[in-house]
């Protein structure tokens, strides 16, 4: 088993003449929950899209599970959830899952397992368009779980969910990590950082920290990740560090 799930080296992404990622390098360890944190618009989604291999205009090297990002061999091994719930609004949860399972070649058991994992049993036969926002994003998450992916790339999967559900989902992510799945989760809510083993802090297209939660706290002397984030940003501003 590999120790590194994703290796990113000097990734630059240009979108519409603007550099959205300005030379980012880091590794995502295998079998762990890694959090990608930063304010809205800092480049989190673009970074995740580059890892999944759907982002155009990338330079640098992105290696995923030993293959270049977007390689054909990865399409079955990777689960990806975009910020917008990418499910069909006019199909039920179960119909959506059955369709994507058929595309992946996953069995009927995978569908029921995914419904169960995101706790949507009671709404499995409801048309997605009639679900609440939170339920819809869980339906989208369930699709990513189909077929037992080795790497989960989840773009803000817990935004807008109630606290109980958020706790349950983080527990689910850790359960997957315990089973050897590598999980990369983004969030702009800093207090979710505590739930990750390792953190990547992104600001304005640059990586400003890549550390464990404890490591970050120790380095900055801050009590929580939000204060740590501020401490790093402020120390960079005074030392004239990378902008």
């Amino acid at each position: 088993m590999m120790n590194i799930a994703v290796e990113v080296s000097d990734l630059r992404v240009e979108r519409g003449g603007r550099e959205v990622l300005k030379g980012v390098s880091f590794e995502v360890p295998a079998g762990q929950v890694t959090g990608l944190l930063g304010p809205s618009g800092c480049g989190k989604s673009t970074l995740m899209r580059a890892i999944v291999g759907v982002q155009a205009g990338c330079s640098g090297v992105v290696t995923v599970l030993g293959h270049p990002a977007g390689a054909r061999a990865l399409r079955r091994r990777l689960g990806y959830v975009t910020q917008a719930p990418s499910v069909y609004g006019d199909l039920t949860v179960r119909e959506n899952l059955r369709f994507f399972a058929a595309v992946l070649g996953a069995g009927a058991g995978a569908v029921e397992q995914a419904v169960h994992d995101v706790d949507l049993q009671s709404h499995a036969d409801v048309v997605v368009g009639r679900l609440s926002d939170g339920q819809r994003s869980r339906a989208s998450l369930a699709v990513a779980l189909l077929g037992g992916p080795e790497l989960l790339v989840l773009d803000e999967p817990t935004v807008g969910l109630d606290p109980v559900l958020r706790r349950d989902l983080w527990a689910l992510f850790h359960r997957f990590a315990g089973e050897g799945v590598s999980v990369l989760v983004s969030s702009h809510v800093m207090d979710e950082a505590d739930r990750c083993r390792r953190l990547l802090l992104l600001r304005d297209g640059e990586l400003i920290a890549d550390d464990t939660v404890e490591g970050l706290r120790r380095r900055t002397g801050a009590a929580d990740i939000e204060s740590a984030f501020l401490a790093i940003v402020e120390s960079e501003a005074t030392t004239g560090g990378p902008r």
Binding site: R15, G16, V52, G53, V54, Q55, A56, G57, G70, R72, R75, R76, L78, Y80, T82, A84, P85, S86, V87, Y88, G89, D90, L91, E95, F99, F100, A102, V103, L104, G105, V127, V143
Partner: protein, 245 residues
Amino acid sequence: MSPRVTLAVAARVLTQLRRDHRTLALMLLVPCLLLTLLWWMFDGDDTVFNRFGPPMLALFPFTVMFLVTSVTTLRERTTGTLERLLAMPTGKGDLLVGYMVAFGLVALLQAALAVGVTVGLLGLAVDGPVGVLVVVAVLDAALGTALGLFVSAFAATEFQAVQFMPALVVPQILLCGLFVPRPALPPVLEAVSDVLPLSYAVEAMQEVQSRAGVTLDLGLDLLVVMAFAASSLALGAATLRRRTA
């Protein structure tokens, strides 16, 4: 491409349509009602109905499938399901052919109903085999689907997608020989109509109507329609990108 994925796409599109009763009813009933309206307008004058009937049978599947496909694929692009599918082991061909199969089946139903009404109830005179009318209609539908898939790449919103109808479909309706026989058009317009697919679709319908048996001209017309459908499908495939900005 894999048959499993292609069939999954087709089945999924059909399930979505089945859920949308209103769209389905509009797709199946409106052509029949409009053809009846046409028959009623020329009350008793069979020659006019016989002249306008066959081109109309070509128009409906083409126009309706063009609209439905461009909006459905646009939706797929904007909701992120296309991105998700392309990050999975889905071939572009799976998507395109899946759509063609699903809409082809709907077109078959639509054409069977429309032909049944015009020939069976309204008494459209047809010298050729009636079943071939349905075949021509299904190919016209495939053409509309292929063109709709291609066009959806150039629309950012459903509003824009719908506006491509008057831009791309109406000129073809005007020049297809429905209003003025194509040889009677000004030379420039006749030349333009020679490179528009709907001209051949309409010609095929007229061919079935006026000649007994399956003629060589009919075969050639259908070949041209299929070639147009195949090339728009190839162009459509080129607009499906795994990596997007």
